[in-house]
Amino acid sequence: MTVSLILNDRPQRLECSPGENLKAALGRAGLVSLREGCDGEGSCGLCAVLLDGRLVNSCMILAPEAEGRKITSIEHFNKDPVLRTIQRALIDASCVQCGYCTPAVALAIRELLARSTQPSDAQIADALSGTLCRCTGYKQFFEAVHLASARLSDPGYKAPTGDEFKPDLRHVGKDREKVDAQMLAQGERAFVEDRLPQDVCWLKVLGSPIAHGWIKSIYTAEAEAVPGVVAIVSHLNTPRTLYTSAGQGFPEPSPYDQPMFPRKVRHVGDRVAAVLAESPEIAEEALKKIKVEYEIVEPVVSIAQAKTEGAPIVHSGDISYASGEKPEGISVQGDGRDDGVVYQFSLHADPHRNLAASASGGIGDIEKGLKEADLVLERSYRANRVQCTPMEPHVVLAKVESGRLVLHASTQVPWHVRRIVARAVGISENKIRVIKERVGGGFGAKQDLVVEDLAGYLAWTARKPVYFRLSREEEFIASRTRHPMDIKVTLGAKRDGRLTAIKMELDADTGPYGQHCLTVPMNAISKSLPLMICNNAGFQVRAWYTNLSPAGAYQGYGAPQGSFALQTALAELAAALGIDQLELIEKNRVDSGTTIEILKSLGEGREGAPVTLGRCGLGDMIARGRENFGWHSPKPEAPGSDWRIGRGAVIIQQGSGLPGLDAANAELRLLSDGTLLMLSGGADLGTGLDTVTAKTAAEILGLDLEDVSVISGDTDITPFDKGAYASSGTFFSGGAALRAAEDLRRKVFAAAAILLGEKPENLRIEYKGMVVGKKGRISLAEIGHKSVQGDGHSELTGFGGFKTEHAAFPYGAHFVQVAVNERTGEVKVQRYHAYQDCGTPINPALAKGQIYGAVLKSIGHSLYEEMLYDKQGICLNPRFLDYKIPMATEMPEDLYVELMPVEDEVGPFGAKSVSEISMNGAAPAIAIAIHDAVGVWMREWPFTPERILKALGSLD
């Protein structure tokens, strides 16, 4: 049928079917800005348009309903000065991170400002209440609205300058526009979904309906007969090569325990078969016609069950080792039926007992330390499974061009994707190109290959362009989740609070496959234990296979779970000793010059080594927090007679990449007009990494940011980079960019020295783009121009490689105030203060945005986010309807971030990492505050009202 409407002020006729939703019809009409994050559930708001001026979800409206209506989308910005002002405000307030939600947010603000020119924060929260954003924590959206409002009423309005650092530098330490912000705010083509060719084929997977069982037979003939089906694959006709989906450096500390399709399914949603078809509808129709017979095996649905003698075995194939000796005393002979498991080196595993990996270590003598203690405290803590929920699910477009496989990927690890896809498909790396598109949220989930291997294989074998995007439900159950952990903490202390022993015993649930099975649990230890100095400290870590959804990397990478356990235990210890919690921390924490001995037993995939800290800013952060947060000030009045106010504080840490394991590279070219092209291997997943590398180049070569263009994460064009994980972006990729810029500067000086007749050591760079010596000056443009002439000195290119043995730890102190309702168990986070050291903040507002986002995510994890399963291993809440993530309305009224830089000796311009560390504070701080409010210790998160009432004894 035909629908006539006004689209962005132009009459338009849309051809649509009666049941087609408006989003799809508008997409066919050429709008690219309408995104999708909830599969038409209406809970994400990313497909929003203005319908007769009102913000609505276009996925929840039938296209015929738009007859005669006026529709406005973000594409209308060039004719709508208000919309343009809003976009500019969003950019200037540093709101644009991954950008997947930005057009929807802009429209929500457009509707708001139409009805209220100077809205209150409550009105802003309400206006944004229908738009999910997982990156920003919403805080800066509020600032953007106020900025847009001020500019609309006074076009000459000047916004106050944000915090600035490094006064000797032009760009570094100052807020500059994120290099991709404008493109994303205008809803331009930027994501994988925007790259589909006309002849694209759609890939859909038949996921297992059972959590554990053998595939006895698969019948596909009827499905193959569906017109438009291109190929159907399963374990019967795909390679049996084993690999890991973990995007880690080779050799990975993760077992190779999955082929493309398993013979035995190990979780609900595991791959059984896949259909490639000419349309998604055909693919779905064919999926329904595939008949599968299963032999059901009892599923393993908890850590406790996995550990039990005689429990069902998740992996029962042959166990082998690519290098090193096999550990003694473990079973390696498989049942002859299951696929095998190959370890690249020993992870002290015993898969036939469901043990995927283990490790232990320590310093001193824990038993002696416990004997010396005046008080020994032993507590157990539990962190449950949560979902990363990037708004853009895992997605890839794979195609064959000129005999090579090209992957347009939404990934954090382009080079690891290339290497692992090469192994999975059975071709060499030179035959593969990976192009990282803009990533609509990664958060660790996109460190793993969830879609690229299969799409790559089908594109290569069927010679068709293949589009593979997970549904939201698949994203929940079949992508990657945070490892659930049970952590027992034993502390020994003297009466004055001095620690004599710390022991952490950790059991983690890696799910059906072992990606990150050792490193995530180890990180729970290595980013919590080293905060406390104790001569007798030790740990034991065990990761268990279960039949629940796969675990993997998630922002924080285990550190939030470890931090929750240890920081809460320390607070419990302080309470038991009658000591102020912060005083106990002060007595035992790391400080400037401390040698952290425990790190020698906490190497990641290799031997560790003790680290002696340079300057540590923790003391300043705690002091600043005490004062500014008002740690000792009287508590405010509770919001009602049932409510109690409580406060908590914690110290946190993270790392900055993996010293000695990872590497990054960058190349910087001087173009003929004196501008620069940065070729960075770094994978910007919305964090602003491309802006960091651009700033680095502009700073060193004395240019403006507009003079630098960045191409990043393209395995054909840009040099190798380990990828965006382990908080390595600014430190490693930024470090490589700095070295490339310094290399180019050296070459520029060499060229200029000849042109000016000066010694290179007498030359310096002056803004803007001038090389100045004692005798004269010459512009970069002139040098660049001469470099490409026949009589010139050849194109000038700087190259920088970054690797280091230096460990750069960012630290932080988080303070929280909560209100707890004793009758209902509800918790409101009223105030949250984060005092953090990220070394030199390269772009302060973007750094703060990272912290706001991580804090709000971790508040969600602390209060209500939890994947729930039944006894058969079926996830009960694989959608946003029943898995709630924080919205603008959940933001604490007082969410405050203060950057307190302590420059690093090695990081670019003194920078360290910023994002992941901010995930580590909320859970323990809120648990401690709940105790302060109502006197109960919450040892399992999330702290749901039901759990709190049970802890209070109000509920059986």
Binding site: P64, G130, D956
Partner: protein, 264 residues
């Protein structure tokens, strides 16, 4: 899955289509009918939002709310009692409130409904196209006809309260509760209590109403215990039966208590 779309010119035509098409459904805002749970259910959509009244009319002792009124308009209207505004604002978020209609919420008849607890407690009367008005509860038992408006009696001295429990601010109502009473005597006269989230549909609790009818508001703990004894929810992913029972009882006690405050 909508396979046919009709845009009738009149409500009579809509009624005729409803009777003629086996799988016909009335489509108002679409917030429920176009949700994923219906994606595989074939249906013919009969678009009625353009035919339903969008007005809110204050009469002497009553209020007439058009079935086509959207939630956000309800929340923004100066004519609407605060408790009903509160209920309307309980619907998900602004994007959905801009689209969802009063009629659609009634037709969806969900246990998590934002409006039905209020309508049940208020003993609302539904006006129907070509049929006599019918009480909200009776219509729920035997839905018939196209609802065009909701009439609420608002005599002098009548007080309402609404509250919900949800996991986060923009969540659906895991428990939604509305109470009503006439407070002229200082006691709870004509008390009505309706809750959603404790069973498959929103319903009133006449047993609890009877326990409290004509009495002064009892102490909170006593009221909570009385309420809890009347509820029999089930365990599900949204909470255990024990938790839901307690949470609902707290809600009832708080809302009935707030009626007392309105009286004061």
């Amino acid at each position: 899955m909508v396979h046919a779309y009709y845009r009738p010119e009149t409500l009579e035509e809509a009624q005729m289509l409803l009777e003629r098409e086996k799988d016909a459904r009335l489509l108002a805002g679409g917030s429920y009918l176009l949700s994923p749970q219906f994606r595989d259910i074939p249906m013919s959509a009969i678009a009625v939002s353009g035919l339903l009244p969008h007005s809110i009319e204050r009469r002497e002792e009553s209020l007439l709310i058009g079935a086509g009124v959207r939630f956000q308009d309800l929340a923004d209207s100066a004519l609407i009692p605060e408790a009903l505004k509160h209920a309307a604002l309980g619907m998900a978020n602004r994007n959905v409130r801009n689209r969802a209609t009063v009629g659609g919420n009634i037709g969806a008849d969900r246990s998590c409904s934002s409006l039905l607890p209020f309508f049940f407690a208020a003993e609302a009367v539904y006006h129907r196209a070509g049929l006599n008005p019918i009480s909200a509860e009776l219509w729920r038992e035997k839905p018939s006809g196209i609802i065009t408006a909701v009439e609420l009696a608002l005599p002098e001295g009548r007080a309402f309260a609404y509250g919900k429990y949800s996991r986060s601010a923009c969540d659906l109502a895991l428990i939604g509760c509305a109470v009503r009473a006439d407070l002229g005597s200082g006691r709870l006269d004509n008390l009505r209590i309706a809750l959603g989230g404790l069973s498959a549909h929103v319903k009133r609790f006449p047993g609890l109403e009877a326990l409290l009818e004509g009495k002064a508001v009892p102490p909170r703990a006593e009221l909570e215990a009385m309420a809890a004894s009347c509820f029999s929810p089930i365990d599900d992913l949204r909470g255990s039966a024990a938790f839901k029972r307690r949470r609902a009882a707290v809600l009832v006690a708080d809302l009935v208590g707030s009626l007392k405050e309105q009286c004061a």
